[in-house]
Point group: C2
Chain length 509, copies 2
């Protein structure tokens, strides 16, 4: 019998970086996020299709979409946008049946549909239609006919932007409603992570399209200097320190050791052996990045019950990682401890014999493009508060790296110009309405999110022990009370939006 290939595990890692749009790891300023984190979604899809997708029932449809909504360039082709739709529970236009619209983020929409059980579970209760449109340039929704053509260069990637994606959703849902004579049916937006950012932004930019938005784990403030750049890594670090100071210390110590071992004769081979790598290690930085990713993702998916969102993991996996690191016998080396700890993340099932750091050196992920154009989120690592190596965000070298990789110049101030940010409190207080910002404080992205109520209807639902868009996941038997309560609050608020909308509609008739 063939040994299980660890490509599949690697795929999950790659998929993770693809699907956790915000997984922009700490990295030396001279490097972009490594190509190893980039992966052809088509390939991922295959893996995921076979292994991960839950069987929510929906119809897959395609919509002929305009590539540039904001210009009329006759040279641009249209493209086929995929969307998933289910009307089984919809009570229809006559009863103002709501439409639940999930704002697809940077990955295959079927994967998001499979991991957003909350929306599916809610539909029968609300008599709602469910629609999951796919984000352009991901999954099957590729301009220029294929991922290869769409990702060819800066000119073909040009229209991979959040504003275009929002316009896609606006055009799609408007057309869908018109065809169903459902113009009056209220639309509620859902989204997690980057999808949560899209949901919040769409509510603000398209208030005539959607009456409210649940934006889960949406770091809309992670731009420019709105939040301190070290927030992300501080939270990851605190998640580990909370479990164990010695675990935190061990990890903090490990980076220098990895670097210094790597510099020795045969040091890289020694590292490769210690960490059970399948292939040769090219530089100690590659190993550090691999570990950095594991810690960051662990913080994001530090869920209160066993899960398989990114990797098969136990409940509160950071606790388990730290147990492994701490509980080895006295005298065990730092690197052996680290390996044992990180194996909880990369090999919880124990089926991996070796690990591959870098699967697709020639890949280009869409999120890397987005991070190099609009989604410029400065991340740093603080010498004192972080367990990661010290690192300052440097916009110049970031721009140089983006130029080298994509021949594109980032616009780091564009997102706040287009969507706001610096004065978000006063703006949303007097302007917006009907947005829920939900966050779990274990999630490192919570540091860039809205954590306090802004007005009566722009509210923050925060759970101390929650992680990355946990609330959007399907309910389980193991859900702690605070999660059940958070979801109940969300349901109640959404109900309020709909009741309010219906009342106003009747009043205005």
């Amino acid at each position: 019998m063939a040994k299980p290939s660890f490509n599949s595990l690697a795929f999950f890692l790659l998929l993770l970086s693809l699907l956790s749009p915000l997984s922009q790891s700490r990295r030396p300023p001279q490097f972009l996020r490594k190509p190893s984190r980039n992966q052809n979604p088509q390939i991922n899809n295959n893996v995921v299709n076979q292994q991960q997708y839950k069987s929510y029932s929906y119809e897959t449809r395609y919509f002929d979409q305009i590539l540039d909504h904001f210009s009329f360039d006759d040279r641009l082709p249209n493209f086929r946008q995929r969307y998933l739709i289910n009307s089984d529970h919809w009570v229809g236009p006559s009863r103002l049946g709501p439409i639940f619209l999930y704002c697809g983020n940077e990955g295959d929409i079927e994967w998001f549909a499979a991991n957003t059980g909350f929306v599916w579970e809610l539909a029968p209760r609300f008599g709602a239609m469910v629609v999951f449109p796919e984000h352009r340039y991901y999954g099957e929704s590729m301009p220029y006919g294929s991922q290869k053509e769409a990702y060819k260069n800066a000119s073909t990637l040009a229209h991979l932007t959040a504003e275009q994606a929002l316009a896609d959703y606006a055009v799609l849902i408007t057309d869908l409603k018109r065809n169903l004579s459902a113009e009056a049916c209220p639309v509620i937006l859902f989204g997690g992570s980057y999808g949560g950012m899209l949901a919040a932004w769409m509510r603000v930019k398209y208030p005539h399209i959607a009456i409210g938005a649940l934006a889960s784990s949406a770091p809309i403030l992670q731009f420019e200097d709105i939040v301190p750049p070290q927030t992300f890594y501080d939270i990851v670090s605190n998640d580990f320190r909370r479990e164990s100071t010695s675990c935190f210390d061990t990890i903090k110590k490990s980076w220098d050791i990895i670097t210094s071992v790597g510099q020795k004769t045969n040091g890289l081979d020694h590292l490769a052996k210690t960490f059970h790598l399948c292939g040769k290690l090219e530089s100690s930085q590659d190993l550090s990045d691999w570990l950095d990713s594991a810690y960051s993702y662990l913080a994001m998916v530090d869920y209160p019950y066993p899960s398989e969102f990114l990797m098969p993991l136990p409940a509160y996996p950071i606790k388990e990682v730290c147990k492994e690191i701490d509980n080895l016998p006295d005298g065990t080396s730092v690197l052996d401890r680290i390996f044992k700890g990180v194996s909880v993340y990369y090999n919880y099932t124990g089926i991996a014999d070796c690990f591959q750091l870098d699967d697709d050196p020639h890949g280009m992920s869409g999120w890397n493009w987005q991070a190099c154009t609009e989604m410029v989120m400065p991340l740093s690592s603080d010498r004192n508060s972080s367990m990661f190596p010290e690192w300052d965000y440097n916009s110049t070298s970031f721009a140089e790296d983006c130029w080298d990789e994509f021949r594109v110049i980032p616009r780091p101030t564009w997102i706040t110009t287009e969507f706001g940010g610096h004065n978000y409190k006063s703006v949303l207080e007097t302007f917006g309405s009907n947005i829920i910002f939900s966050n779990g404080l274990l999630d490192p992205w919570s540091g860039g999110s809205v954590l306090k109520n802004i007005s009566e209807s722009v509210v923050a639902l925060v759970t101390e022990k929650g992680a990355h868009h946990l609330d959007l996941r399907a309910s389980t038997m193991n859900d702690p009370d605070w999660l059940v309560e958070q979801r109940a609050s969300e349901v109640k608020i959404i109900e309020g939006w709909i009741v309010n909308y219906n009342e106003k509609l009747v009043f205005n008739m």
Copy 2:
């Protein structure tokens, strides 16, 4: 001494169609707005510069602007956006000096600056800075280096859209404020006609950039089926009927007469002679369009005092037109009456010996492009209520005409998808704030505007006898009380926005 050239008068007409963005005249479905209404703004500028611009004091600056804010196409060049700025009265960042931002519309920005005296007069009172950015593709703000290159074809015109223009303003003002450390200073938007639409839309789309908007004569509802398509011509017609039923009847009769005379042998020559045309008349439709324009523009500028906005005109010029039409001796032909009436518009000063209908058959105005892409405003003329020939808007032939002229396909549902419209009341009621929609009911564009208060801070200021963005003009000794009161209300409301903003800011500090 040379006879005064009537090119200059014609220029004003052309300029008018250029500057009254919404001057999309009734026309047979098979024709686009005639090229004669299109004019090279550069040439207009010269004329206008010499004759019309008032001497408000400002500095002219230029800003390096991105051509496509919503994509990252590396093939696109930047362009130089012109803006006018005056800080003489600005009290500066420390005292939170407001910034008055006029949303430039489809024409030379100096012309708008000269005709928006209200903003200049308000600046000292508010200690405000005044900024007039020019709309891309107009005046000097030409992509590709020149108007000729910018207007070359659909690919070069592609980025002439309202969303790009709004993004220009957002980027410009954000940069300007940052450079002045004036991030906290409140921005108030102003705009008239299409500029008023931009002001209202910018307030809704960029609430983090501007705290309020005065949108004067902004027909944001003149799209799809939100208002009946015959509203525009019904209002024009009512403006005439109000003055005199017989005047209305004479005009209504004239169209068939013109057509039938035009079909006779030498009929076109007869028409040309009757209407003192300088050149040969190619078709009776050209004459009808010329008259149609005059009536429509007269309705727009039916101001209560003598003005020279478009043409030198007496107070309430429609009254004067009808006097001329009605007061000719019994037995005067309908066409002679019409000529006498329309001469009030085209030749009030009496210096014109003949009229030229068509000055620039090869011109392409930017507004025609905008009307053929996003700004698709269906206009019809009703058999019974209108004094114009019956005419139904036909979207198919409109699209064909646009294809013939620009090789572009209109997106008639895009504006309402992007900016809303159908459900504007309920949306603005629960979402927006701080918008004044000001309108005069004589203005035919008032039919597509917001005429009723929507909420406490989204309000309509309507004057029964006002015309097209009269309130934005400089005050005069002849201003009627209702106009003085309208402006006073606007000032009071804007003061309220600023006071409110400052209080909130202090509170949040």
